[in-house]
């Protein structure tokens, strides 16, 4: 079985940013994404998700290394300073190279 190397970029951030981030991510070339509602705790306190202002989302994007870099750079520049946001990147093997 042949697999192709891609990146799995995960962003955990404030729910309020969802619409803005989706727009950015698509413009930067990602072909798809998955979003889940999550909760947890970090530098900016407990994000209990009990209501909108304290809710978090996790956005997962599988893309090539080049687009991944572009997205991460963009996030760092525009959102890191003022918003609760963490990102991490894993290597992912995918079966369909044309999809991601």
């Amino acid at each position: 079985m042949s697999v192709y190397q891609r990146k799995l970029l995960t962003i955990i951030t404030e729910t309020i940013l969802e619409a803005a981030l989706i727009k950015d991510i698509e413009q930067l070339g990602a072909r798809g994404y998955t979003i889940t509602d999550v909760r947890g705790k970090g530098d900016r306190g407990t994000r209990s998700a009990s209501w909108d202002s304290s809710a978090n989302i996790r956005i997962e994007i599988i893309c090539d290394a080049n687009i991944c870099d572009k997205i991460v750079l963009h996030l760092k520049e525009h959102y890191y300073k003022n918003y609760a946001m963490i990102t991490y990147i894993l290597n992912a093997d995918v079966l369909r190279s044309d999809k991601f």
Binding site: E14, I16, S50, W51, K81
Partner: protein, 316 residues
């Protein structure tokens, strides 16, 4: 016998559960559903009333409440900036919260009037919608001037098409177009259940309020004093304005409560997008941790007293 409105007891119960760190909490989808029900109900109630009177008669009230929405943040901002020594963005954001309005508080004041059979002008929901908006714009301008950086398109989308305003306006229009008889078929869900839904809403609000109390210690006494004094001051000046607009005593009390309440849904969302450098915990602690419980527990009866006094002193 001393009797407290059960919805208030639900709120206190929620605070107790939150302070004791119990597991009690509405599922977030249920909370969202309840908010939607409340917003639509409030809109419908106002819409029915709108159908009964010519829109032109309401223009002075709409103009007055919009003007108050613009002016309130301008009063609050210098107090926060210079007496409270907040950063510019924080002062602007808190000022915007206090210039805008809280739907939860509005729902409680409506329930207050209804349980005491006090008549009021039901179109108040329209004023609620109008008051939501101006303070957000003023808040953004206070934070950064009229800057090119502000994406006004994004901001106005957030302001005019945010869930709260959208549902209220939708309810108003549906109520206005259907009229009282047309709404009879959906009355059981929206009107008969209103107080039960409000009780559940306040239970969750109690839990959320309790979560804000933790940050109170961190931000000190200034916010507490501001969170209590500002609404009293605002209600005090708006009671005579309500009277001069020809509102009844009940209507004047609701008018004063609208002005005295501080937003915790529409404004936080708009500020987070438009003034991200402002610390959201500060304004939420003030509006949710202090002003909301104060208004619910003590403010509303006090504002009703102001309204009575305004009508007695000024005649009418």
């Amino acid at each position: 016998m001393f009797s407290v409105d059960p919805i208030i007891l639900f709120f206190l119960f929620g605070i107790f559960a939150g302070v004791m760190r119990t597991e009690l909490r509405l599922p977030s989808q249920a909370y969202e559903m309840i908010s939607i029900l409340l917003l639509i109900t409030i809109g419908l109630k106002g819409g029915i009333e709108l159908a009964k009177q010519p829109f032109g008669d309401l223009l002075p009230q709409i103009a007055a409440i919009a003007a108050i929405g613009f002016i309130t943040p301008l009063i609050a901002f210098p107090i926060l900036r210079y007496a409270g020594r907040f950063k510019r963005a924080d002062a602007a954001s808190i000022a915007a919260h206090y210039g805008s309005v809280s739907v939860g508080t509005f729902a409680v004041v409506i329930a207050y009037m209804e349980s005491r059979n006090i008549p009021y002008e039901e179109h108040m929901a329209l004023l609620l919608v109008v008051l939501e908006i101006p303070a957000i714009l003023v808040g953004i301008m206070l934070a950064r001037g009229i800057s090119k950086e502000t994406q006004w398109g994004k901001v106005s989308h957030e302001v005019f098409l945010g869930k709260g305003v959208l549902l209220l306006v939708g309810g108003l229009l549906i109520g206005w177009m259907s009229g009282p008889t047309g709404l009879e078929s959906i009355e059981p869900l929206f009107f008969d259940l209103f107080k039960g839904v409000l009780a559940l809403f306040l239970l969750e609000m109690g839990v959320i309020t309790a979560a804000q109390l933790g940050s109170l210690k961190k931000y000190g006494p200034f916010l507490v004093v501001f969170g209590v004094a500002m609404p009293i001051f605002l209600a005090l000046i708006s009671a005579p304005i309500g009277w001069s607009l020809g509102l009844s005593v009940g209507g004047t009390a609701i008018f004063a409560t609208l002005v005295a309440s501080a937003s915790y849904i529409a404004v936080p969302a708009a500020m987070r997008i438009s003034v991200p450098e402002a610390n959201p915990t500060l304004s939420l602690t003030a509006s949710l941790g202090i002003t909301f419980p104060f208004n619910i527990l003590m403010g509303i009866p006090l504002y009703y007293y102001f309204a009575e006094q305004a009508h007695t002193l000024l005649g009418g």
